[in-house]
């Protein structure tokens, strides 16, 4: 029973924002966790505590608070290593988030390893963050971007994969979970197919880290990216994990302080991995918050959470389907707490605005997945997405609100 192992009421109390109201007293029902998750007190306090008591630049100083900040920074690296079950802590690189992690690989690894005539493979359900950097790489190099088609239920066309994994494919980059559909991809199987053919793989974990247990060794990928802000952590920090040998062979991405061993006007010798990829003063307070977020998240019973999310999705889906002209986009059973829908004849913006007026925050639009939506023949969807704090009651309120909006618009 989820109620026993996941005390949602107690969890909610840890999130200050969940007690606020909007539009003159309507309690906030936050169903936009896929865009960014809310933050528990312990994460906010970790950031506050860092600034109030330990703030200092890292790596560069011998004084006490600099040593404290550096210790925290490197301890967070270990925390991430354990969170991803990576073998080495120096395989963890701090970035601004998933987007920067993918750009780093597309630029640093891509410029070195991709040439004219090569192919990059992605899936048909990628976020723009996992499309545009590869497109930019392909343009620079004269390479081609291909994608695995998506089936009508929102799952990948697995039968098309072997044919697409040609000799020319140098990189196969795939989302773990679709931010629009909620679909969970079998990244283990996909990476295995690529590995057999000697193809480098990257997994976009932006939407999976907050729902699934992550194990990069088990997945068998070469790169894995995520953002702290989707994992109940702070904005402005995320991670790139990569296999040591691959990272070690990569040239730096940005140049500046910390990432160098020795600088002369004649030339520069770069630092080892991961410092080589962390130019400049990093988001130190972000690491304090990320550490707190991972530790906090680690206390949750992920199985109970999964069960709870499934129940939320089922209830929401069943309720929505009562509405005339309702179309759920993404109906594969293997999905996380995300429900996308369109209602024929009605515009998503209208629904979003009328829900907001009732205190309910959902997202409407293309969710940075234009090509995916095009394959479903729609330009936008309404998306309700759930987190550890989402309750059954909120789903019911959401359904009442959608029905009211539909009545007003028809």
């Amino acid at each position: 029973m989820t109620a026993a192992s996941l005390d949602i009421h107690a969890i909610r109390e840890q999130f200050p924002i969940l007690s606020r109201t909007v539009h003159g007293g309507k309690p906030l029902v936050y169903l936009d966790t896929a865009a960014t998750s809310q933050k528990p007190r312990v994460v906010i306090d970790a950031i506050d505590g860092y600034y109030a008591m330990h703030n200092s630049n890292v790596h560069r100083g011998a004084h006490t608070i600099s040593a404290e900040a550096t210790t925290m920074w490197e301890r967070t690296r270990q925390t991430v290593q354990q969170f991803l079950n990576a073998t080495r802590e120096d395989e963890v690189i701090f970035t601004r988030g998933t987007t920067e992690s993918i750009n780093l690989v597309a630029s640093s690894w891509g410029d070195q390893n991709v040439a004219a005539g090569d192919e990059i493979l992605i899936t048909g359900m990628e976020h723009h963050a996992n499309i545009v950097p590869w497109q930019m790489l392909c343009q620079r190099k004269g390479a081609t971007l291909k994608h695995i088609p998506v089936l009508p239920d929102g799952s990948l066309d697995m039968e098309a994969v072997p044919g697409l994994l040609t000799d020319r494919v140098k990189m196969f980059s795939m989302t773990h979970v679709s931010n629009t559909l909620g679909t969970v991809n079998d990244v283990h199987a996909l990476c295995a197919m690529a590995r057999e053919r000697g193809i480098t793989t990257m997994v976009d974990g932006a939407q999976s880290v907050l729902h699934l247990k992550i194990d990069v060794q088990e997945i068998g990928c070469d790169f894995f990216a995520f953002s702290a802000h989707k994992l109940y952590g702070p904005t402005g920090i995320g991670c790139l994990w990569g296999r040591y040998e691959i990272l070690d062979a990569m040239p730096p991405y940005q140049g500046g302080g910390a990432m160098i061993k020795h600088v002369t006007y004649a030339g520069t010798e770069y630092e080892q991995v991961p410092i080589r990829f962390e130019a400049g003063t990093p988001h130190i307070a972000g690491a304090a918050g990320l550490e707190a977020a991972i530790n906090w998240f680690g206390l949750l019973d992920l199985e109970a959470l999964d069960e709870h999310e499934r129940a939320l999705v089922e209830r929401a889906t069943a309720g929505l389907q009562q509405i005339d002209g309702m179309r759920i986009i993404g109906t594969t059973p293997h999905k996380v707490g995300i429900v996308s829908f369109v209602i024929s004849g009605l515009h998503g913006t209208d629904i979003g605005m009328l829900l907001d007026e009732q205190g309910i925050a959902i997202r409407t639009g293309h969710h940075c997945t234009m090509p995916l939506l095009e394959s479903f023949g729609v330009g936008s969807t309404c998306r309700a997405s759930f987190g550890v704090y989402t309750t059954m009651d909120e789903i019911d309120e959401f359904l009442v609100a959608v029905n009211k909006a539909v009545r007003m618009l028809r």
Binding site: H347, T349, G352, E357, Q358, M408
Partner: protein
């Protein structure tokens, strides 16, 4: 009726509703009063950029005042467009540029008119202002 008068009228019109449903029903109804948007203007260049829901805006200048045609596919947005038209349409460029922006708060439209690309009404107001500047420099009657 000058712009300030139009704003005052809108304020009392929208202020009469006790609950949000009636208010929105009225906004949606206002959208239905918008004259049909001439189909020949439904071109990429008259789409207000930066809006998630498509908003169309076409200006015609008779040498004195600017006449706008405007439209949106979303009903609430269309109602908000109608509100903007009551404030800005058929005015001289100078009148348009003189409209104080605090009407957004006066009419309780902050959420919708914030710096938000989702419904793009802020972009629409900006675009109206740009047209006013352009026409005030050209002077003579023209369209785009």
């Amino acid at each position: 009726m000058n712009a300030q008068h139009a704003i005052d009228l809108l304020a009392s019109e929208l202020g009469q509703f006790e609950d949000w449903e009636d208010r929105y029903a009225h906004i949606i109804a206002l959208g239905r009063t918008l004259p049909p948007f001439p189909e020949e203007f439904r071109k990429e260049q008259f789409l207000v950029s930066g809006c998630q829901s498509q908003v169309w805006l076409h200006p015609t200048f008779d040498g004195t005042t600017i006449h706008f045609d405007a439209d949106s596919e979303a009903l609430v947005v269309k109602g908000l467009v109608a509100i903007l038209m009551r404030i800005y349409n058929h005015r001289t460029p100078q009148e348009i540029l003189a409209v104080p922006k605090d009407f957004i708060t006066t009419l309780g439209l902050d959420t919708h008119l914030s710096q938000n690309r989702a419904n793009g009404l802020a972009s629409m107001i900006k675009q109206i202002g740009l047209y006013a500047i352009a026409f005030s420099m050209r002077g003579a009657a023209s369209s785009v």
